[in-house]
């Protein structure tokens, strides 16, 4: 065989033997938009189903997860077909991968996770470290799952939430995306995507995830769950979640209502920057949050003339806002130390980057050091606009 032929065979096999061999026509894929993962509870299943075959002891030991998939009926979206706008599929199995392939076989199609928007974790699963670590590993490994998708912990069972018949958007995943994006303006929703959660868990083994609640025909994102050592250890309320967002510099728009001179004044914060610093003073570690806000008066009192033009008054309002944020931030930080001992803001990373010597000393017993970190929030607020006032 002449040399050029050998070379060209080599080159051609480089070109032709690689490439994308996973050809599936677009209409044969099921675009999973939301995925709910619950812990399989044999007792509960038994009660519900009575003495069905699924409750055989052998079966029980094998099943560990219940996974619910929600995927759109694309024909309806394209305006060509009729029927349910969203399909659901639920299955039980030992690992998520097992369940995936089982469901795929059952559907006669391919589950496609490239457009996944939401993963909901059932409350009981969230409290199980072993299963949670498996789920995180599954997500991190799966190349199709994007890093910007939402990862939430349900207040109850994920399956129930995904079965909620929504009044508005037909595709549950997209709906949640819309809620999150709308609610950016009120920072009381944890703006935490799976990329952040995975990184935070790698860095400090602690993170917050948004909490998903559901009712008859509504889903609501409210508050956050605290993850520590890969499992849920508690809840944060909406105000505390907002404070965490301030600390993580993720606030875009939020509203703070303060009481000045017997008036309730809502201030719309539309620009907020936070700088996190770790300082060592007198042998103590301080976490310092320098928060700068800009905002506008969004409501005042009808026919109350004059006040809003006075610098002094506006400064009082701004000061009240600053004070309120400062208290929230410091309280929440202390709660994260005392109640959870969970380094939610990744102070350890700041320490590692800026105080490497100190970090070397404390890295092995960070768990004990963290609760002793002092917190200091310096909040400055400027009221830039006072709205239409006479």
């Amino acid at each position: 065989m002449p040399r050029w032929r050998k070379i060209s065979i080599l080159l051609l096999s480089c070109i032709l033997l690689t490439g994308c061999w996973d050809k599936v026509e677009i209409e044969q894929r099921a675009f999973v938009s939301a995925m709910g993962i619950d812990k399989f509870d044999p007792q509960e299943e038994q009660e519900k189903d009575g003495a069905e075959e699924e409750t055989e002891p052998e079966q029980i030991s094998r099943n560990r997860y219940i996974v619910t998939y929600r995927y759109p009926n694309t024909s309806v979206i394209a305006g060509k077909g009729e029927g349910e706008p969203v399909f659901k599929a639920t299955s039980i199995g030992r690992t998520i991968t097992d369940i995936n392939s089982e469901v795929a076989t059952k559907l006669g199609g391919n589950l496609f996770f490239g457009h996944l928007k939401l993963i909901v974790i059932g409350n009981s699963l969230a409290e199980d470290e072993q299963l949670m670590r498996e789920v995180f590993d599954y997500i991190e490994r799966n190349a199709m799952i994007g890093r910007k998708i939402h990862y939430m912990i349900a207040s109850g069972k994920a399956k129930d939430l995904l079965e909620v018949k929504l009044a508005r958007q037909p595709v549950a995943g997209l709906f949640v995306r819309d809620i999150i994006e709308q609610n950016m303006r009120t920072s009381q929703i944890a703006d935490a995507d799976i990329g952040y959660i995975l990184r935070a868990l790698h860095e400090s083994r602690a993170a917050i995830t948004p909490q998903l609640e559901g009712s008859e025909d509504e889903l609501k994102v409210a508050g956050a769950a605290v993850l520590k050592d890969y499992k849920k250890i508690g809840w944060l309320g909406e105000l505390e979640t907002g404070a965490i967002m301030f600390m993580m510099d993720k606030v875009k728009n939020t509203e703070i209502t303060v009481r000045v001179n017997e008036l309730f004044i809502p201030v719309m914060i539309y620009n907020s920057r936070t700088a996190v610093k770790v300082e060592v003073r007198d042998g103590e570690i301080y976490a310092v949050f320098d928060i700068e806000n800009e905002g506008e008066l969004s409501q005042h009192l009808f026919e109350l003339i004059g006040d809003t033009y006075e610098d002094e008054y506006l400064r009082d309002v701004a000061k009240a806002v600053s004070e309120k944020i400062k208290n929230q931030v410091e309280d929440t930080f202390i709660r994260s130390q005392k109640e959870f001992n969970a380094d939610l803001i990744q102070i350890n990373e700041e320490l590692r980057k800026h105080e490497p010597d100190l970090w070397d000393e404390v890295r092995d017993n960070w768990e004990e050091v963290y609760p002793k970190v002092k917190v200091e929030a310096n909040v400055e607020t400027d009221i830039r606009r006072i709205g239409t006032t006479r």
């Binding site: 050809k23 026509e25 209409e27 979206i77 077909g81």
Partner: protein
């Protein structure tokens, strides 16, 4: 190169010369013998002089020679006027040839020849031959004149603004159209004949002190080397002298517009006009010259630049759009925005074919429509549009054979393909599109990228008469100056030089000092000094 050697092998036995002899009848018989059974050849024998004792013969090809001119200015002069004029000079009989040549034949172009073979060539190209008894030469009278198409607007390469005269099938008219635009003694029109049998006239046009001598030499040598029986169209010349016959890309530009030719000559290119075709070749061509339209230079620079960029985008789109559709729907649905991906999936829900077959059917149908549209006579041509649009578009979608998105892709591809000013570039893209679709179908985007890389490798390699085809992107001769006329068309006042990559002489085109003009004639706000 064996193929080319054989092709260009010269026939080394030129046809032997047949001298014209003094015996008039012998000469005439020789011609008649050679042109035997050529019933369109007219032999007119007549007597001249008061005594009717001088025998003359006129030979011409009917239809090619201008009969009016022969009747009014030659036959009448010789037959009527010569009889009435008194023969004052006694030795007129001896000087008859000079007299006829200088005093009797009232036409502008006369030549004398002494070879019957040459005379035959002349007759066949439309000239008339005047034979005299007792004279060993013949007169060639320029009587070429055959029915021809007027100087009409060309069907292709239409412009909104700009001249609308176009070449026709007669070489002489075509050279005149170019000459009208270049009144420069340095503008040269070198003529030669190619084709053993067709003896097609070819003119090589260039401006002597601008053209790159190496390119000119190359053109001349390659045309000289052609040894073929007949040249039917400039496409023959193009295919015989191009650098690489394997390439799908045209390595010469062809045009029907004299202004395009003149502009190319001013840039330092060479043009070749071939008789019997309105398509003139311009060489060397680069990818960029094939995307430029003459109108770019007539319009204001901003709109011209915007349109040119649109054209670049359209060319790329027409190449890759169907393959992108195939690759993304079959392999990479994650690359689409979620809402679009679901819409595409839904609209393809009932389509029975995989994306590749679907795209292939639609693209093939489009090519068929295009082909049928060309063949059909004008009035029926529009029927094809209706049939194509309605039957293939609407009905196919309604029947669920193809998805509406595919129809959009095909339509956009077709529109984008037609926006190219160079038809030959557009059709080479048509071919590559199918190759790309095949690769997209079995390798996804990876295959698309491979085809693009392969095309780029080929393009980098390709040369047109020694000039890199991708100039000014590649090639050591290109300078940043050349990019003033690539994606954008710079304002004329900043395009002061000819393209550098051609190594043209007299490189400055424009001496224009902005500062000077603005300060002399006011500051542009209408204020005069």
């Amino acid at each position: 190169m064996g193929f080319f050697d054989k092709l260009f092998e010269k026939n080394e036995n030129p046809i032997p010369k047949i001298p014209i002899v003094k015996d008039f009848q012998n000469n005439l018989d020789q011609i008649k013998e050679i042109l035997k059974d050529g019933d369109d050849i007219i032999y007119r024998e007549f007597m001249v002089g008061q005594e009717q004792d001088m025998k003359f013969g006129l030979v011409y090809a009917e239809g090619l020679a201008d009969k009016n001119l022969l009747n009014e200015h030659i036959l009448q002069n010789l037959m009527v006027l010569c009889r009435t004029a008194p023969m004052e000079v006694p030795d007129l009989r001896d000087k008859i040839y000079e007299t006829i040549k200088n005093g009797s034949v009232a036409v502008t172009d006369l030549k004398e020849i002494d070879d019957i073979q040459v005379a035959i060539d002349m007759i066949l190209s439309g000239e008339s031959i005047l034979l005299l008894n007792h004279w060993d030469k013949a007169l060639v009278i320029a009587t070429k004149g055959w029915p021809m198409r007027g100087v009409n607007a060309p069907d292709t390469e239409k412009v909104i603004r700009g001249p609308s005269d176009g070449f026709n099938e007669t070489l002489r008219v075509n050279t005149a159209l170019v000459r009208r635009r270049i009144r420069d003694p340095k503008f040269k029109i070198k003529q030669m004949q190619v084709g053993q049998r067709s003896k097609t006239d070819i003119a090589i046009l260039y401006i002597e002190d601008i053209v790159n001598k190496d390119i000119l030499k190359m053109v001349k040598e390659r045309i000289d080397a052609i040894d073929i029986d007949a040249i039917m169209e400039s496409g023959y010349i193009e295919q015989l002298i191009q650098d690489s016959w394997r390439s799908p890309f045209p390595q010469m530009q062809h045009t029907q517009r004299p202004d395009t030719v003149a502009a190319a000559l001013y840039e330092g290119r060479v043009a070749v006009i071939v008789d019997n075709t309105p398509f003139v070749l311009i060489m060397p061509a680069t990818v960029v010259t094939l995307i430029q339209s003459p109108e770019d230079y007539y319009e204001r620079p901003f709109i011209a630049s915007a349109i040119r960029m649109l054209r670049f985008a359209a060319l790329i789109l027409s190449l890759i759009m169907p393959s992108l559709y195939i690759a993304i729907t079959s392999y990479h649905p994650g690359m689409l925005p979620t809402d679009l991906a679901m819409y595409v999936a839904g609209s393809r829900a009932n389509v029975p074919f995989p994306a590749f077959i679907e795209a292939f059917i639609m693209e093939a149908a489009l090519e068929l429509l295009r082909e049928a549209g060309i063949r059909l006579p004008g009035p029926i041509g529009s029927t094809i549009g209706i049939v194509g649009g309605l039957v293939l578009g609407q009905a196919a979608v309604e029947a669920g054979i193809v998805s509406p998105l595919m129809v959009i892709v095909v339509a956009l591809t077709a529109i984008a393909g037609y926006s190219s000013p160079s038809y030959s570039l557009a059709i080479s893209y048509r071919l590559l599109r199918f190759v790309m679709m095949a690769f997209a179908a079995f390798l996804g985007l990876y295959g698309v990228i491979w085809v693009i890389i392969a095309i780029l490798i080929h393009l980098c390699n390709l040369k047109s008469f020694g000039v890199p085809y991708l100039s000014p992107f590649v090639g050591s001769a290109a300078t940043p100056q050349d990019f003033k006329d690539v994606f954008i068309r710079a304002p004329l006042r900043y395009m002061k030089n000819r393209p550098q990559y051609l190594h043209a002489g007299d490189s400055q085109r424009l001496a224009y000092d902005t500062q000077e003009i603005l300060t002399e004639e006011g500051d542009g706000n209408g204020k005069q000094k």
